[in-house]
């Protein structure tokens, strides 16, 4: 054996090895013995011939190159695109299969070359690592094969390959069919060809993907313009939508999965088909919205949502449409809605439903569009063009120099709510479920109102009347409503007060039962003793000289109450109290529901039934303040529902302000209720009208106090924020302030500024010396 050493050379072995190698390259069958001989020969050459491995590698490369040249000639012999692709794919397929076989016998060669290079160069950690695993993918011979293919055949014909493949794709776009496997085969060869271990997709991406993208872009650049010109925008949108779907499906077929190519191609199509025609497409949005073309809008939304900033202009168009259509509708029906709160709320709700279904049908309730709807609807609800609530601008109000007019919506909404909750023709007509759903509608609109404090004020006044006059249609629904108001975020102290009012009514009922249980003399009286804090904070009382029949009860009630409670004081609110009296005249007997003031006036005639009483004497008898007396007398001489009035007077006047001291009043002895044109001998009539909750004067001040309350709330909130933050910038303060106050009202920039100045002036806070837009809390 030793003697043989040095005698085994590459030159000896190669002539026997070569035919086997060539057979393998050509995919011809190789016997097991040949296969094993090849292994052995490689082993010997590497072991005994010092230069063997290199010589072996070079010889191998030569044969591989030769084989590739032959294959290339076979491929290039094809003139026609499809045939060329078919031939290439076939050749490549064979060669690629061999890339997995041929390296196996040469593993020893790889080890040797790697070991040598390890000795000669000390910095080949990469190949060292590869040496240890026998992964075929990392094989040197395989790399040799792939690189050779890449450098010769691929470099020479890749342009033709790509062009042919793209031509096929193009043909498919134009509706011709062909064997898609051809394009897929080319792509696969690009992917498999790459021997770069860091980026295995490099060849594919730099060549195939780039060519595919470019071809697509060029195709649609041309087609898009063509279609727009000949068929118009609306048809184009359908075309673009369909093409985008098609191209996405095509990309899944022809581009490498998991490479990110499909997303890149889609983006490329979106750019050419949508992005580059954005102004043309967007010009359609406003007219389509106006015409309510939901299907076309759906399509437009789907398309434009694919490109950045595509949807923003549509949002603006929608907003503008809702505001202008909403306001136009309100202005058009101004005559009805300004006088009829039911009609007003119905109009508002109709608008809301219209806009909401537009958003649903056209924009699939997309949150961005819902927000735009809300923003625009808020403008409609809070608009002041049709009618407005004038808030006073008075220098008397601390720190305020006047306010802008506000929407009357909250007042009308509260009126509507009252119509639903009170015994009215409306509430009688509706079922319980209908009333509930309409109350829910009220809450929905309320959500959009900026000056919710105005709603609260009116709602509470209405509730007060309903509870005192016992005129609720359904007391369960009343209490439900309180909880619903809580649920929609009305301020807790407000809702608690409403809840407290119901509690008071129940407590009063018990108290009344006990009081009437004591003696039968109390059968005619019904007492309500209520918590002043919940019912009547700040409201003014009116003095009146009660008729004796009523006056007698007062000390008895007070005595009784004192036994039940201690530490409490009582104040009588005669402007709220009321009752029923019987009126007897020559025609008949009538039951009249009246206010205590009306009672006081009418009872003045009991001593002198047929006399005329002057305005002056009526005042002396009742001791009512002038505005209250005028109002009460007017309700008895000119009650809207009556054909024959209870009192007569002279001289005639147009309104209560014109009563003079010597205007005289007398009881109408011919008074009767009229039914079917005939006077009745019996009957009952309610003369109370709208129950007065405060004096005439303080009613005028009502709106004034809304403003005052806002100022107070704003100051409280500013102090609260500063206490917590210690120092805060103007911008941050403004946004926190709006957050705190938004369930009551929207503080105007002007008001905030005025209150900040006031608080600074009064040393609750100061501006930072360094930065005048930062505020600092002063304890």
């Amino acid at each position: 054996m030793l003697k043989d050493k040095g005698q085994v050379t590459f030159e000896d072995k190669w002539p026997n090895m070569r035919p086997i190698v060539l057979k393998l390259l050509k995919q011809e069958p190789v016997t097991q013995i040949e296969w094993q001989d090849l292994f052995g020969a490689v082993h010997s050459v590497c072991l005994w011939d010092e230069r063997g491995p290199y010589k072996l590698r070079d010889a191998l490369q030569q044969d591989i190159m030769m084989y590739i040249k032959q294959a290339q000639a076979r491929v290039l012999a094809q003139r026609e695109d499809q045939a060329l692709l078919k031939a290439y794919i076939a050749e490549w397929g064979k060669f690629f299969t061999q890339c997995n076989y041929l390296p196996t016998p040469f593993r020893q060669l790889e080890n040797s070359i790697n070991n040598i290079s390890k000795v000669t160069s000390s910095s080949t950690s990469n190949s060292q690592k590869k040496n240890n695993n026998n992964n075929i993918e990392d094989s040197l011979v395989r790399k040799l094969m792939l690189d050779s293919w890449n450098q010769s055949i691929f470099m020479d014909i890749k342009q033709r390959l790509q062009d042919s493949a793209m031509k096929l794709v193009q043909a498919e776009r134009n509706g011709e069919s062909f064997d898609s496997q051809l394009v897929i085969g080319v792509r696969e060869s690009y992917v498999n060809l790459c021997s770069n271990p860091v980026d295995k997709l490099q060849i594919y991406r730099d060549n195939f993907e780039a060519a595919y993208m470019q071809a697509t872009e060029e195709f649609y650049k041309l087609k898009a313009n063509e279609h727009l010109l000949t068929n118009g925008v609306q048809s184009y949108m359908k075309y673009a939508d369909q093409r985008l779907k098609e191209e996405e499906a095509r990309a899944h077929r022809y581009l490498e999965p998991g490479s990110g190519s499909v997303a890149a191609l889609t983006q490329c199509c979106e750019k050419v088909l949508i992005g580059e025609h954005l102004p043309t497409l967007l010009a359609e949005s406003a007219p389509l919205i106006k015409a309510g073309e939901t299907e076309k809008l759906q399509l437009m939304f789907r398309l434009l949502d694919r490109v950045p900033e595509g949807v923003t202009p549509i949002l603006r168009d929608l907003e503008a449409h809702i505001v202008s259509a909403g306001l136009a509708d309100m202005v058009a029906s101004a005559d009805i809605i300004t006088t009829d709160s039911e009609k007003y709320v119905e109009r508002l709700l109709d608008l809301f439903k219209t806009f909401s279904s537009l958003v649903k049908d056209a924009f699939m309730d997309d949150p961005r569009f819902l927000t735009a709807r809300d923003k625009a609807y808020k403008c409609v609800v809070n608009d002041t063009t049709v009618f407005k609530l004038e808030l006073p601008s008075s220098a008397l109000i601390r720190g305020s120099k006047g306010t802008a007019p506000e929407s009357k919506c909250p007042e009308l909404l509260a009126n509507y709510c009252d119509m639903l909750l009170r015994k009215t023709p409306l509430s009688k007509r509706l079922t319980s479920e209908q009333i509930e759903s309409r109350l829910r509608d009220v809450l929905l609109v309320l959500k959009y109102i900026e000056n919710k404090d105005v709603f609260m004020r009116y709602h509470k006044a209405h509730l007060t009347r309903r509870l005192i006059l016992d005129s609720s249609a359904d007391s369960e629904k009343e209490e439900d409503m309180v909880e619903w108001l809580r649920e929609v975020g009305m301020p807790a102290d407000y809702v608690n007060k409403l809840a407290r009012m119901f509690q008071d009514i129940k407590v009063s009922e018990d108290l009344n039962t006990q009081f009437r249980g004591e003696t039968t003399r109390h059968d005619a009286i019904n007492i309500k003793i209520l918590n002043a804090g919940a019912w009547a904070r700040g409201s003014e009382r009116v003095t009146v000289s009660l008729p004796l029949e009523l006056e007698d009860y007062i000390p008895e009630v007070e005595e009784f109450y004192k036994k039940k409670h201690s530490g409490r004081k009582l104040q009588w609110y005669h402007h709220m109290s009321n009752g029923t009296i019987t009126f007897a005249n020559s025609v008949g007997r009538f039951d009249l529901d009246v206010t205590t003031f009306q009672m006081a006036v009418l009872f003045a005639w009991n001593q002198r039934p047929l006399e005329k009483i002057s305005y002056e004497n009526a005042r002396l008898a009742t001791e009512l303040p002038d505005p209250e007396l005028r109002r009460t007398l007017w309700s008895l001489v000119a009650f809207p529902k009556l054909k024959r009035q209870l009192l007569c007077y002279e001289p005639a006047v147009q309104n209560p302000k014109d009563f003079a001291e010597n205007t005289t009043f007398w009881v109408n002895q011919e008074f009767a209720l009229i039914k079917n044109g005939k006077p009745q001998r019996r009957g009952k009539i309610n003369l109370i009208g709208r129950l007065q909750l405060s004096t005439e004067r303080s009613q005028l001040e009502d709106n004034h106090s809304i403003v005052q309350l806002r100022i107070l709330r704003t100051q409280e909130a500013i102090i609260k924020i500063l206490k917590m933050r210690k120092r805060i910038t103007n911008t941050a303060l403004q946004s926190e302030l709006v957050e705190i106050l938004k369930n009551m009202f929207l503080p105007s920039k002007k008001m905030i500024k005025e209150q900040l100045e006031w608080l600074i002036e009064h040393k609750y806070m100061r501006r930072d010396d360094e930065d005048i837009n930062t505020f600092i809390y002063m304890a």
Binding site: N531, K564, G567, Q680
Partner: protein, 111 residues
């Protein structure tokens, strides 16, 4: 609208309460408001009006707080008044009236 006044009803003359007066009272619904008989409307401890529940009572279980009328007022010998809840907590720290510094002793409780 027809020529009707509202609610004209025919009822037998069963009332029987013939009276010589032109107007007679049948029913009176009298309304009065009660409030704590205090000199100062605001509780100096929690800064809430004494007619409202104190801060603590408002805070805990908002929904139930109106069901109970627990949050009453207490008067000291000095005649100063506070929420009873607020004062009970205060005296644990300091047995003097927060307003006049006199030793705190209860004169009466609201009911």
């Amino acid at each position: 609208m027809s020529g009707d006044d509202c609610d004209a009803l025919d009822r037998g003359d069963s009332d029987g309460q013939k009276s010589d007066k032109m107007f007679t009272l049948k029913k009176w619904n009298a309304v009065a408001m009660w409030s704590w008989d205090v000199e100062c409307d605001t509780c100096a401890i929690c800064r809430v009006q004494v007619m409202d529940a104190c801060l603590r009572c408002q805070g805990e279980s908002k929904k139930d707080s109106y069901g109970k009328q627990d949050c009453v007022v207490v008067w000291g010998e000095c005649n100063h008044s506070f929420h009873f809840c607020c004062m009970s907590l205060w005296v644990k720290q300091n047995n003097r009236c927060p307003l006049c510094q006199q030793e705190w002793s209860i004169q009466r409780m609201g009911k």
